[in-house]
Amino acid sequence: MAAKEFYTRMGDGHRVAMTKEQIMADLQAGSADAADMGGIKALDSNDIEALCDIVCDSNRVVGVRPGMEVPLTYDIGQLDFTGDNGNSGNGVDMGRLEGALLHERALGADTFELAHSDYSIKPVKPIISMEMQTMEEVQNEIVIPYFYGAMPNMGLYYAPDGPYGNPADLMREFKIEEAMGEAEKSAAHLARDIEYVATKIYDAGADGFDFDTTGAAGDADFVGTLNGVEALRRRCPDAYINVGAAGESVMGIHGSIEYRGEVAAGLYPHQQCKLAAKAGANVFGAVVNTNSSKSLSWNLARAVTFVKACTAASPIPVHVNMGMGVGGIPMFETAPIDAVTRCSKAMVEIARVDGV
């Protein structure tokens, strides 16, 4: 008799059928890969069994056990409605107030954020007064904590978008020292801009700030953001600050830039969270990337292994980033609900995250 097969997914969203033995093998391999890369403990057999039960559940949609619910928040503000497919949106036009209230009252968001369509710190600078006005207006209506969200996006400080030389171009000409210098100058500029934008918006009534995809331009971006967070914390002691990562490992574009004596390049979530806490963040947003050529089981076990180590090490709450191509979820434009709910349940019940 042929072995029973379970319908599951590949990391690119394709439907596949796998036996329990195949799923178990991928779960173990995924966890082992994270343990090897991050220098952390692999999941034990109980966790692997529990993950297998979640993956093999016969229901299309699964959920956490009663009493294990965690806060749910969203990044990118109203853009998940108003943006087109290119930025993960649904193409439904509406104002920012309507977007915020829909998230609060229809989608069960426990916190939400105001976002500008460019969703980056630098372009917000010249229009900060308009953002402050909108923040004030939405705060008059909304009940849940309402933040301002933006990506540090330090790439905008490099040529051709900004005043500093592009390290990628300089390095290809073997101008390594120069490239590192430009990255350091950009990081300092980013930190100043974060302090400027975030304190202004806080003055307008924001409950806090979400720094989304910290480190997207590499280790100097990560350090610049943490320095900006530190300055913001000094100026706004009561602000709620979320530092969300860009990827599972901080890319070493500079290679040796440090935050409080620690080299940022190559840090994994269980190490990133400690620096975010030192900078003054209230919450760390862990990210683990999906490998689109591997199965859901492999990716999920790998992501849970990284995030479990992070929640164990973190001095502050960890809200894991769950979406297209992160957190074990397939890299697919409309993330399959079966995969999204399985990954979310596993993150809460096994990785013990504080929020999603």
Binding site: D12, D169, M171, A217, I253, H254, G266
Partner: protein, 212 residues
């Protein structure tokens, strides 16, 4: 036959330590010990491969890889006269055109891939980002044997397919290896649009290209 075990280890270690002066010094010592130029290159190449492995594992970072590559370049300048004398001049580098496709301004992933290809010995023509489709065709027409296209958005990944179509229309498709990558791009998408190489990461892309 002379045993160059110590020199090989020295060259390997110098590359993994990625400091240009250290690499130059190791090459000088190996040459003084009578090591042939081709053997020196083999020793350095083994070290460079390990540098790539350490980069992939997050133990070394981009500037370190570049520094090792700069050391390799310096070594080749020293070794070139002997190679030429023995009729073993350095093989002509294969050229690669790289760019982020038109409509897409994401840069960093493509740049890392370009740098890694350069370190692997390719001549890279990096056209930057928001690159017009025709520019890829022009570079292939000028002789690039590899065409690498990055796209970070679902709305721009289709441009990769368009360029492959333009290569076919221009009668150039058979003379170029097309590589695609970027966050939303997957192996199945690469297969669907008829690309030759897809990599999950820069290191994987370089490994696949070198295996061709």
């Amino acid at each position: 036959m002379t045993d160059f075990t110590n020199e090989n280890k020295m060259l390997y270690d110098a590359m993994v330590a990625y400091k240009v002066p250290g690499i130059t010094e190791a090459v000088d010592k190996a040459r003084k010990a009578g090591m042939p130029a081709t053997a020196v290159i083999d020793g350095l190449s083994a070290g460079m491969t390990q540098v790539g492995v350490l980069f992939e594992r997050g133990k070394l970072f981009l500037p370190h890889v570049l520094s090792a590559a700069a050391g390799m370049k310096k070594a080749m300048e020293v070794l070139e006269p002997e190679l030429l004398k023995n009729g073993q001049g350095a093989a002509k580098k294969e050229s690669v055109v790289m760019g982020t496709v038109e409509g897409d301004v994401h840069d960093i992933g493509k740049s890392i891939c370009s740098t890694m290809l350069q370190c692997a010995g390719f001549e890279v023509h990096d056209l930057g980002r928001d690159v017009p489709k025709q520019s890829f065709i022009d570079e292939v027409r000028k002789g690039c044997k590899f065409c690498g296209m990055s796209a970070l958005m679902t709305t721009t990944m289709t441009v990769q397919r368009d360029v492959i179509g333009m290569l076919k229309d221009a009668g150039l498709r058979d003379r170029v290896v097309v590589m695609v990558g970027g966050a939303p791009v997957t192996q199945s998408y690469a297969d669907k649009i008829g690309a030759d190489v897809y990599g999950e990461s820069a290191s994987e892309t370089v490994a696949r290209v070198k295996d061709l």
